[in-house]
């Protein structure tokens, strides 16, 4: 047996020993005992019991601080005992006002240096440091709550028969984090929902039959109005979205047999009114938006890229656009109708050369090829990030709705176009993710390049003119 096998066989030692070795240790016990022995001489003279308790409390706080630093990968190098405790209190009380706190957090993230700090004028604010702390602790996603604090959620329940068998789906409405109502379905696993004028449409697939989905209507009080199978005689069909149209009926968008784009119309009482299928090939339906006379949809796959298709109100595909040129691929991430135009949020990546030999993710093939060819397995963020930033440019395309031709575009280097939205005052917001730090992780299965992006927000007025740029302070993950 080799030492490595022995190391593995240690796995099954008594769990009580494993737990005991993980218990927080009261450090400096030996020193404390010596101090207590000396201090005992003074107890008679003064009420030094208070002093001992105070000292014990200080030790406990210091121990807690050290454990906190260890748990969160923070370094104590160069810090005094007092500074360690101050930073610990600064973070745990969410004050973030101590001058050294930001520096300690940043130093703990040196592998993913936040270059975005260079953009800031002067010292980061407590809010900046708190955001950085939240991001460090894997809270990169910021939850945006509904303005009315109404949230819908769905969950699954499994049967307790020794196996993980589906039993029920629950669809629930919350207001101000309080459950308002809950509805259950045993026929299908909920995969999505759409809000309509008088309630919600919920849909999903049966656990043992992929030939059709189910669809149900729930009113605002949580009553199930109707539920039924959504059947169009495919071997496999999946509902992508449900949109209430201008006539008050429901347009159900689905993908049939991984080959057809389908539009099925239902009346408010659940009566099937119309069905149309159109061949699109093996493209997923990634996004769909209402547009004059019908819809526009973003379809794509990871081999051929994305396309925009225009669909009339009956489900016929009338137009199809793709965006590319000799030098760049365009990757559309979001789209919206605004000011009578179609706005496409996208990012470009270079067309890879024919000399590339790698088989890795195609957006960054040039970089992966360079790293592999030169046997580089470890590269600093300082060196890698400029290479990756050079690979990406965010673009906002303003397109003619009838031809799809871009009439205007905005670009931001080193970034990727993200979400589009419209404010209450009718302005268009375009989110752009600026790549600020990156790292190379060839051993990770779910991605090869990681890092962080800072989100910038661009505002366009009702005339389509860019009026402002704002650094939101939000951070999101970069994963390719």
């Amino acid at each position: 047996m080799r030492g490595k096998e022995f190391l593995e066989k240690l796995e099954n030692i008594d769990p009580a020993y494993i737990e005991a070795a993980n218990i927080k240790v009261s450090k400096n016990q030996n020193r404390f005992k010596r101090f207590a022995a000396m201090a005992a001489c003074f107890i008679i003279a003064l009420s030094l019991g208070v002093g001992i308790r105070t000292y014990a409390a200080e030790i406990q706080e210091y121990n807690d601080a050290i454990e906190f630093f260890e748990d969160h990968g923070l370094s104590t190098d160069g810090l005094s005992r007092k500074e360690i405790k101050t930073i610990y209190r600064d973070i745990t009380t969410k004050s973030f006002s101590y001058s050294k706190t930001g520096e300690v957090i940043m130093n703990s993230m040196t592998e993913e240096q936040i270059q975005g700090y260079e953009i800031w004028q002067g010292e980061p604010t407590p809010e900046d440091i708190e955001r950085l702390w939240n991001h460090k602790n894997y809270n990169g996603e910021f939850i945006i709550t509904d303005k009315n604090d109404i949230l819908y959620d769905y969950r699954l329940e499994y049967a307790d028969n020794g196996y993980i068998d589906f039993e029920k789906s629950y669809f629930e409405k919350f207001s101000n984090n309080t459950l308002v109502w809950s509805v259950s379905f045993s026929e299908f696993i909920i995969s999505g929902y759409s809000e309509i004028s008088d309630g919600v449409i919920v849909y999903g697939n049966a656990p043992d039959n992929y030939r059709f989905d189910w669809i149900a209507k729930i009113d605002k009080n949580g009553n199930i109005i109707w539920k039924q199978k959504h059947v169009n005689n495919f071997s496999y069909e999946m509902i992508v979205d449900v949109i209430e149209n201008s006539e008050g009926n429901y347009d159900v968008i689905s993908r049939g047999d991984s080959y057809y784009f389908c539009l099925t119309k239902y009346s408010p009482t659940g009566e099937k009114l119309h069905f149309k299928k159109s061949e699109i090939g093996n493209f997923g339906i990634w996004n769909i938006e209402r547009f004059t006379g019908g819809y526009i949809a973003l379809i794509g796959n990871f081999v051929e890229g994305e396309k925009i298709i225009r669909i009339d109100s009956d489900g016929n595909i009338t137009e199809s656009f793709a965006y590319s040129d000799e030098s760049f691929y365009y990757h559309v991430t979001d789209m919206i109708e605004f000011n009578g135009r179609i706005y496409l949020s996208a990012y470009t990546t270079p067309v890879f050369s024919e000399t590339n030999t790698s088989f890795c993710y195609y957006e960054l093939r040039n970089i992966v090829d360079y790293l592999i060819t030169n046997n580089i397995f470890d590269i600093s963020s300082d060196e890698l990030t400029p290479m990756i930033r050079e690979n990406y440019t965010a673009v906002l395309l303003v397109c003619d709705p009838s031809t799809g031709s871009p009439e205007q575009f905005f670009s931001v280097k080193g970034s990727m176009g993200a979400e589009l939205s419209i404010t209450e005052s009718g302005e268009l917001l375009w989110d752009v993710e600026s790549i600020t730090t990156t790292f190379y992780s060839p051993a990770t299965s779910s991605f090869t390049f990681g890092g962080n992006c800072y989100i910038f927000e661009y505002t366009f007025n009702t005339s389509g003119t860019l009026v402002s740029q704002n650094k939101t302070g939000e951070i999101t993950n970069f994963r390719k």
């Binding site: 047996m1 030492g3 490595k4 190391l7 796995e11 030692i13 769990p15 005991a20 993980n22 016990q29």
Partner: protein
């Protein structure tokens, strides 16, 4: 939430069990994984895989008294497997170092005899039971949690040289124990 209640949630197949597990032990599990794989994202993967395996193994297991150890064992196993499968160059240096140290405990390193894992574990547990708690904890922190010497030194406020000599003596004692008890490895 105490461990017993968290285990109850698993037994009820309530997905909140994962959330409470993550809140209570996520950071510690990530730290164990990171200590082995030395990659943040891979450590996150190990943590997530731990939750899946915990979900699939409670029931039949009901680790009410030792939930952390139960989870930590899964995480350690996953992380070591990842190192093996992916031959992560970054981390095999530590595993080689620990393996080399533990080889000193093996009575007959060239013997081709195969020993049953359970029997060996019984032997190691018996040996660990003979140690005073400080020595036992240091040994487990080094070879189970794979802490560095400096991390153990900070944790227990013992000098690094004392940690090293303590580990050396413990390894020698383990070898002697296994030899006396008739374990041939």
């Amino acid at each position: 939430m105490n461990d017993g209640k968290i285990v109850d949630l698993y037994l009820e197949r309530n997905e909140e069990a994962i959330k409470y597990t993550s809140d209570k032990y996520g950071a510690s599990l990530r730290r164990i994984a990171y200590g082995i794989v030395n990659d943040k994202s891979t450590a996150e993967e190990c943590e997530n895989d731990t939750y899946v395996r915990a979900w699939n193994s409670i029931p039949p297991h009901e680790p009410r008294e030792y939930l952390f150890a139960f989870l930590a064992r899964i995480t350690r196993h996953i992380a070591l497997d990842i190192c093996k499968e992916r031959r992560a160059l970054k981390r095999t240096a530590l595993i080689c170092e620990l393996s080399a140290e533990l080889e000193q405990c093996i009575p007959y390193p060239d013997d081709k005899s195969i020993i049953d894992s359970i029997t060996l574990c019984d032997g190691i547990n018996k040996f660990l039971g003979t140690l005073e708690s400080e020595k036992r904890n240091v040994f487990i922190r080094r070879y189970w949690y794979m802490d560095s010497i400096s991390a153990i030194s900070k944790r227990y406020s013992i000098s690094q040289s004392k940690i090293k000599s303590m580990l050396l003596r413990t390894r020698n004692q383990l070898k002697e124990f296994l030899t006396k008890e008739g374990y041939e490895l």
